[in-house]
């Protein structure tokens, strides 16, 4: 409903119905856009991850140094006619990777320092807040609560290291076994070829008397029994 008493503009439209440019989003049913919130400061988890990344980068740097030294030693040991070109190529590749590792390391140092400062600030703020709430803390039996928490039992309960160790060992063991089986096949194949060339009729006596590993210590899977 329009107000009949509202003043009219030049085109005869009541002025109260006019909208300004600021009113357009509302008129279209849109919400005004909010400015993006600032990114949250890094926390303890960030610090842990960045420290770990820094450790990895440091290890990569050390590996680069070791590889560089290896090339230098190999260059001095091997004859130049054989090793010069491959070692040059390896050297160049190592140089590139060392440069990249150094850049990553510097970046990681910066990131870790930033996270450490942020965490330190949060800790300091937390401590200050606690001091302000001293009166309340006096009424909370913190010692009794802490005494009731069996931290070693909790850590033993989780035993994350054991979980990681077992899964990794299993995976690596399976992979190594697969490689060993392939190489065993190559052993037998090479022996067969040589025996054929030498016109041997009988297979090689490979069994070693006095050495028995086919005892019960070799666990046979249930489905294979």
């Amino acid at each position: 409903m329009t107000d009949p008493t509202a003043p009219l503009d030049d085109d005869g439209v009541p002025e109260a119905e006019l909208v300004t440019i600021d009113d357009v989003p509302f008129a279209l049913g849109l919400q005004p856009t909010q400015p993006a919130p600032p990114p949250a400061p890094p926390g303890v988890v960030d610090l842990v991850f960045r420290s770990a990344r820094l450790g990895v980068d440091a290890a990569a740097l050390f590996a680069g140094e070791v590889a560089d030294l290896s090339v230098r030693v190999a260059r001095s040991v091997l004859p130049p006619a054989v090793a010069e070109r491959p070692l040059d190529a390896v050297d160049e590749r190592i140089g590139r990777q060392r440069t990249a590792a150094r850049e990553r390391g510097e970046h990681s140092v910066e990131q870790t320092r930033e996270a450490a400062e942020a965490v330190l600030n949060q800790v300091v703020v937390g401590v200050v807040d606690m001091i302000d709430m001293g009166g309340l803390i006096d009424h909370v039996p913190i010692d009794q609560i802490v005494a009731r928490v069996d931290v070693p039992a909790i850590i033993n309960e989780v035993d994350l290291g054991d979980i990681v160790r077992e899964s990794t060992t299993g995976l690596v063991g399976e992979t190594i076994d697969a490689v060993r089986v392939q190489v065993m096949g190559l052993d037998l194949f090479a022996a067969r070829i040589v025996d054929k060339i030498l016109r041997r009729k009988e297979p090689r006596p490979l069994l070693l008397d006095g050495y028995d590993v086919s005892g019960p210590e070799i666990r046979v899977p249930q489905e294979m029994r």
């Binding site: 030693v73 190489v183 090479a190 022996a191 069994l207 070693l208 006095g210 086919s214 210590e217």
Partner: protein
């Protein structure tokens, strides 16, 4: 700790004389390990020296014969220690091999070091294993040793007490262990 060998042929070959490919790869891995030991030791000694006695960090370039000699002796010590203790080095463990005496018992330390010296000085002797009917290398013939497939590490073998003896015996190797 238990150990599982899923492959049937691999199970059947346990305890038998290993072929040249496995042994060659194991030896190559051992040379790599000896090389790595030398490089890491050299880098560590150099860094320590520079930190303590020098103002600038620099890894010196040693003559080739010094590097070759050092790697040779590191290889001998490394192989000798491995074979004299568990019969395995890292390369052998990787390929699931073990060095034993021709009667199946573990090597004596002196025998292990003689074999190591022989291997490091004359590694082409391994080629004899390709044509020998019992897969023996020159080192095996001289030192009376055998390299067998043995994937099960010692720690995985259950030890049992023989009746009337207080010495634990590792089943399978036919040998008493302290």
């Amino acid at each position: 700790m238990s150990r599982l060998i899923r492959n049937e042929r691999a199970r059947a070959l346990q305890g038998q004389r290993a072929g040249i490919v496995s042994r060659g790869l194991a030896f190559a891995a051992d040379i790599g390990v000896a090389f790595l030991i030398y490089v890491v030791m050299g880098a560590a000694v150099s860094v320590l020296w520079d930190l303590l006695f020098s103002k600038k960090m620099d890894i010196p370039q040693l003559p080739g014969w010094v590097n070759a000699t050092a790697i040779f002796w590191i290889l001998v010590i490394y192989l000798g220690l491995g074979w004299g203790s568990t019969g395995r080095t890292i390369g052998k463990q990787l390929m699931g091999l073990r060095v034993v005496r021709s009667d199946g018992r573990s090597l004596k330390p002196r025998q292990a070091f003689v074999r190591a010296l022989f291997c490091a000085a004359f590694y082409p002797g391994l080629l004899l294993a390709l044509v020998d009917r019992r897969n023996r290398s020159v080192q095996d013939v001289v030192c009376r040793t055998v390299v067998v497939y043995d994937w099960i590490p010692e720690a995985a073998r259950p030890r049992v007490l023989v009746a009337g003896s207080a010495v634990p015996v590792t089943k399978g190797s036919g040998q008493q262990r302290a």
